[in-house]
């Protein structure tokens, strides 16, 4: 049903911009014809999208892997928790985009910087959600695993990880939003990056093509929405189906 808001908003937007009630606001029809042009005639839109999605995937998968690893050991071990938690609190308050100038120097002007920004964008939300998830797993679920002979790895895989999904999945949803934002910002600043939705918006600033900018904004928003729906789908197929949370 998430089509509904668009059916309402698009005609109103069209009228507002046709009547020039808001200066420089391009009408949806113009943005759509720009989309057709860039996607099919010039054919660059796919390249922009592929560039962004590729960086997003790598950075996000890294954030998920390290986030789950760090979150687990912090969630399980008091000493590690006491050491790491203050650091996490310190780092989480730094906006990802503020790291980008540093990354541009250390990692260069290309993909690596953008991927690192994606990683930093998502990493903290995931780590926190895993820490919380691990700590809230019912102790007796762990005991029930121990008594049937589950070792450390088996306990993690069969008990702790599924047990913390209730907390991890909302973390993943937050994180993909943060990562996506970091990606677009970093693409604008990384000079060697040629293709990417962020880059597309930034370069259209040079040529003053405002409908391309809006197209970029829309693509970012819609992609974020789709990614969130994907995670929502996963949530429904796991923790909702298992009765651990009610359907959202």
């Amino acid at each position: 049903m998430f089509i509904l808001p668009f059916i309402v908003v698009i005609p109103i937007w069209e009228i507002i911009s046709q009547l020039e009630l808001i200066a420089h606001l391009p009408p949806p029809s113009l943005i759509f014809s720009k989309f057709i042009f860039l996607a099919f005639e010039e054919g660059v839109l796919a390249q922009h999208l592929i560039g962004s999605v590729y960086r997003l995937l790598i950075g996000y998968i890294l954030a998920v892997s390290f986030g789950i690893f760090l979150g687990t050991i912090v969630g399980l071990n008091k000493l590690i928790s006491d050491t790491i938690t203050p650091l996490l609190s310190l780092l989480i308050s730094i906006p990802t985009i503020a790291w980008v100038p540093v990354l541009l120097i250390t990692l260069g002007l290309g993909d690596e910087t953008v991927i690192a920004a994606v990683f930093l964008g998502g990493f903290f939300a995931i780590t926190y959600s895993v820490i919380h998830g691990i700590r809230t797993v019912n102790k007796n679920l762990i005991n029930a695993g121990k008594i049937v002979g589950a070792g450390k790895y088996k306990l993690f895989e069969s008990v702790l990880l599924p047990g913390s999904l209730v907390s991890l999945i909302p973390g993943l949803r937050l994180a993909i939003g943060y990562s996506w934002r970091a990606l677009v910002g970093a693409e604008m600043l990384a000079a060697m990056v040629r293709w990417g939705v962020g880059k597309m918006i930034f370069t259209s600033r040079m040529s003053n093509v405002i409908e391309t900018m809006f197209l970029g904004l829309l693509i970012i928003g819609i992609a974020g929405l789709l990614l969130d729906r994907l995670l929502l789908f996963i949530e429904n197929k796991t923790v909702v189906k298992w009765g651990m949370v009610t359907e959202g």
């Binding site: 019912n138 679920l141 005991n143 695993g145 008594i147 002979g149 796991t238 009765g243």
Partner: protein
């Protein structure tokens, strides 16, 4: 049959919990449980009876003293014991079948054999047709049937049950007592069963260990030599019940006083 052979030896156990204020849960606790015996640990709430069971399982370590199973020191949890939890502790993400089969699969038994054996136990606890259901769709009584099947399926030496019917309504509770008795007659496991229900103790036990209020130790032992299945209304049953109640009553009062002290301080 190896009757009267010592299975579990609980020797001079002391368990304290550090925290805001130190609590001595168990002290000078000595219990011997024989092979194939249905032992019930009965006591007022807060007497440390569940703590004792967690020590037997190896989930917790005693502050001092030792617990032996078949003459071997219990150090950590292991599948020679099965545990039935008061809060069921089923895995919400596993179906009934998978919950039960988990212990078998960990033993390295093939998926197919695990599933077959688990099905046998599902039938035994009367849950046929629910093998692919997720726990949250089951009633409390059905959940605990899964809990019992899961603890028995890998054929442990000893079955540890921590107020397993405490979360059930009175009707279901009675029903489960009757069924557990039947299952036990079939398997003849050594059982350590924790409860605060006197009727439950009298119905199920070969031997009832009545605990004192905190710090918990054994106040008295009541042997129950009535034929099974027992009749809740039988005179001899009521006599046993009375005997246990007498032992317990002063301790319940003490336990209430302890609670009030905690509440007023």
């Amino acid at each position: 049959m190896k009757k009267n052979q010592e299975k579990i030896k609980i020797h001079n156990i002391k368990k304290t919990f550090e925290g805001g204020n130190k609590v001595v849960a168990l002290e000078n606790l000595n219990i011997n449980i024989n092979e194939n015996e249905f032992a019930v640990i009965l006591g007022p709430s807060g007497c440390g009876k569940s703590t004792l069971l967690y020590l037997l399982a190896g989930f917790e370590k005693p502050t001092s003293g030792k617990i032996y199973l078949d003459g071997k020191l219990i150090k950590k949890p292991s599948p020679n014991r099965g545990f039935v939890f008061q809060d069921f502790a089923l895995y919400p993400w596993k179906t009934v079948l998978k919950n039960i089969a988990f212990g078998l699969e960990l033993k390295g038994i093939s998926k197919k054999d695990s599933a077959n054996k688990s099905m046998d136990y599902i039938k035994m606890v009367g849950l046929e047709g629910f093998e692919h259901a997720y726990p949250h769709t089951l009633s409390g009584g059905m959940k605990q049937r899964v809990g019992i099947a899961r603890a028995l399926v890998y054929d442990p030496e000893v079955l540890l049950m921590d107020e397993p019917f405490g979360a059930l309504d009175a009707q279901t509770r009675k029903q489960m007592q009757i069924e557990l008795e039947k299952i036990w007659e079939k398997t003849k496991k050594t059982v350590v069963f924790v409860t605060h229900s006197v009727i439950e103790a009298a119905y199920l036990a070969d031997k009832v260990f009545v605990m004192t209020a905190r710090p918990g130790k054994v106040k008295g032992i009541v042997g129950v030599n009535l034929p099974r299945p027992r009749d809740y209304t039988d005179d001899n049953f009521l006599k046993v019940r009375g005997k246990i109640l007498n032992l317990l009553e002063s301790e319940v009062e003490k336990s209430m006083q302890q609670k009030q002290e905690i509440e007023t301080t």
